[in-house]
């Protein structure tokens, strides 16, 4: 039960289990973002959920094509901001009014006005760190090992190639059926990626 929940959470990060025989998934290359977005739409409507596109830059409209909702980074950032603001308020109040009060020209030990710059700075600092930390957490990064790196063609995912990957852990995954669907959607080439350190290219 717990294992299943962990697997599901990992799947939202794009981290999938490979099959017992070592098949991690199918990796299809598409010629351009236009074909890729249509393919993603098709894969999603065919009921696949453990799939992702890999592109050198974010593609406008892909979230909707893949059926993904809003990113949750915003909530994490908000929590960070509240923590920062709370810490700054507490820090300034406790150090100057409680722990070591010093009377300077009869000014109050603690007041909001002179505390605002530090409140602002720490709010921004914590929000930013939580945003970035949250982004890496939701993305499951850093992820040094990824079976997709066994594919030679995949090195071009950060250059000029557009890939769609369907993981073997998807309940609809079937080596032949899924492959023919990817080809119908216009794939230039399809590879079977194995978790055992290799990837074989299936030429049409």
């Amino acid at each position: 039960m717990l294992k299943k929940i962990i697997q599901q959470i990992k799947a939202t990060m794009g981290v999938y289990e490979s099959r017992p025989d070592g098949v991690y998934g199918l990796l299809a290359e598409y010629p351009n973002p236009g074909v890729l977005i249509d393919a993603a739409r098709k894969v999603h409507s065919a009921g696949y959920r453990h799939f992702d596109t890999h592109t050198p830059f974010p593609i406008h409209g892909m979230d909707r094509a893949m059926g993904l909702g809003q990113s949750k980074v915003g909530y994490i950032t908000l929590i960070g901001g509240i923590c920062g603001l709370g810490l700054a308020t507490w820090l300034q109040w406790w150090t100057s009014a409680v722990d070591y009060p010093i009377n300077i020209s009869g000014k109050p030990f603690f007041a909001i006005e002179p505390s605002i710059p530090i409140m602002f700075e720490l709010t921004v600092l914590f929000s930013a760190l939580f945003a970035v930390g949250g982004m890496f957490l939701l993305n499951g990064l850093p992820r040094p090992y990824n079976p997709l790196f066994y594919s030679r063609a995949f090195t071009r995912a950060s250059d000029d190639a557009f890939f769609l990957h369907i993981a073997a852990s998807d309940k609809n995954f079937d080596l032949e059926e899924t492959e023919s669907m990817l080809r119908e959607a216009g794939a230039k080439g399809v590879e079977v990626v194995h978790d055992h350190g290799y990837s074989e290219l299936h030429t049409a």
């Binding site: 236009g34 050198p56 892909m62 980074v73 820090l91």
Partner: protein, 470 residues
């Protein structure tokens, strides 16, 4: 993959000129930018690093000399307790404003031309802020207890004074540095993955792979990534505006005539953007020429920066004149004297240098031909930064050298240590910037690809299904 993209599309009438010229495809951009981190740098790079690292050594020697002897080796005297170190601090912080402004504010305003210059401008920001942080650190004298400025429990059981603008400054500049660094790194991750995937030798693949964090360009990742980038931009925007405002509080919260004015925060911020853009322009004109990336950092980019320099320069000039008006209008004798003394006193030469560099020279940018002339842009960008250094000198030194009590009036002279430390800080700045140019992609590869029309799925759909909403 040039073959898959149709390159012969003509622009509709009245469309903006393309942001990337020369008909570059996705792969061409990757190649053009990554290539420079993979091959031996051009000989101009070696000459530049020789000069800058020499200056860096001068800086280190000067700091060692200073720490050994104390800050008496500088020209700071009584009443000018804040001499060149604070002038240099404000100067460098100001330069450090352009990068985050370009990456955050222009991002929120959807100014897509920023993609060509944001990476190097952000790097420049970080290095300028490092130079800026150096000066107050060594100015405190007992550098080994600098940690007293941070709220760290210590053996004296004392805390920093949170009501002091100087402490606000510590927080503002440190937070600005951390947030800018994080912003820069987040932007770098996809490009580091590009370098990793292109790497031929194992060491290079390991190092770039370590910092790329296993990035694969997955859309699930881009989704969170883009949201984070937007949030960081939204957070950094008020931060950029706040940093120089807080720096100006160092002056404005005191009661010295010439410092005690409410115009300081906006006036400082405008000046910071002004000098920052000038520095970006100086560096970009050199870098695009040496590295042959004129198709990515185009003439249009330089012209847009010139317009921002013109705008902020006019704002700064307006503030200079407003200060005089308010001094007269306030009817405060000390205030009036402070400003009269600026323009006609013993430092009139500094004041008029500032006025001509900042108020006069950028006004030539009203002329389109001059905005598009590389030699003129280059010279003006340097003049602007000379002017902005003098602005900080005028504010810091002139206001202090004649205070309320004529018996304590004095003239400030810098020493050779002052001059060499300032020159050395350029060595630090340039050395870091040259190392950046050598090892990291100086243009945001993924972001530049996004501004190509071929990156939009609609580009491929519009021929067969006109107007269909995706």
């Amino acid at each position: 993959m040039a073959s898959s993209t149709n390159k012969t599309v003509t622009l509709p009438a009245g469309a903006d000129p393309p942001l990337v010229t020369g008909n570059l495809g996705f792969h061409d951009i990757t190649q053009l930018v990554s290539y420079h981190t993979e091959k031996r740098p051009p000989s101009a790079w070696y000459m530049a690093i020789a000069v800058s690292s020499t200056l860096l050594c001068v800086l280190l020697i000067m700091i060692a000399y200073l720490v050994w002897n104390g800050i008496g080796v500088w020209g700071n005297n009584n009443p000018v307790g804040w001499g060149w170190p604070i002038v240099n601090f404000v100067f460098w912080v100001g330069i450090g404003h352009a990068g985050t402004l370009i990456s955050a504010i222009l991002f929120l305003f959807r100014q897509r031309w920023r993609t060509a210059i944001n990476r190097s401008a952000e790097a420049m920001t970080l290095f300028a802020v490092i130079c800026a942080l150096l000066f107050p650190t060594i100015h405190v004298g007992r550098i080994w207890v600098i940690y007293w400025t941070l709220p760290i429990p210590n053996q004296m059981e004392m805390w920093p004074q949170f009501k002091s603008p100087l402490l606000w400054d510590v927080f503002a500049v440190s937070v600005y540095f951390i947030v800018s660094l994080v912003f820069w790194y987040v932007g770098l991750v996809p490009d580091l993955a590009t370098l990793r995937d292109r790497a031929r030798n194992a060491l290079r693949r390991r190092v770039t792979g370590f910092f790329a964090l296993g990035w694969t360009g997955a859309n699930r990742h881009w989704r969170n990534y883009e949201k984070t980038y937007l949030l960081l931009a939204a957070l950094a925007t008020p931060l950029v505006l706040s940093v120089h405002s807080v720096v100006s509080f160092d002056f404005a919260v005191s009661i010295i005539p010439g410092w005690h004015t409410t115009i300081f925060p906006p006036y400082f911020v405008a000046g910071a953007i002004f000098s920052g853009f000038a520095m970006v322009m100086t560096l970009m004109i050199l870098a695009r020429k040496i590295y042959g990336i004129q198709n990515i950092i185009t003439m249009d980019h330089l012209e847009k920066m010139a317009i921002i320099i013109l705008l902020t320069g006019s704002m700064v000039g307006f503030a200079y004149i407003t200060e005089f008006f308010i001094a007269w209008y306030s009817q405060v004798e000390y205030e009036q004297y402070a400003f009269l003394n600026r323009a006609t006193g013993p430092y009139a030469w500094a004041y008029w240098t500032m006025m001509s560099c900042n108020l006069l020279f950028p006004q030539f940018f009203w002329i389109k031909r001059l905005r598009r002339s590389i030699p003129f842009l280059f010279i003006t960008s340097i003049i602007v930064n000379i002017g902005m250094w003098f602005e900080r000198f005028v504010i810091t030194v002139i206001s202090l050298h004649r205070d309320f009590l004529p018996s304590s009036w004095d003239y400030f002279n810098p020493t050779i240590v002052d001059v060499l430390t300032f020159a050395g800080s350029f060595g630090l700045f340039m050395t870091l910037f040259l190392i950046f140019l050598r090892y990291l992609p100086m243009v945001a590869i993924a972001e530049v690809k996004m501004v190509l029309p071929e990156s939009d799925p609609h580009y491929y759909h519009k021929h067969d299904s006109e107007g269909e909403e995706h």
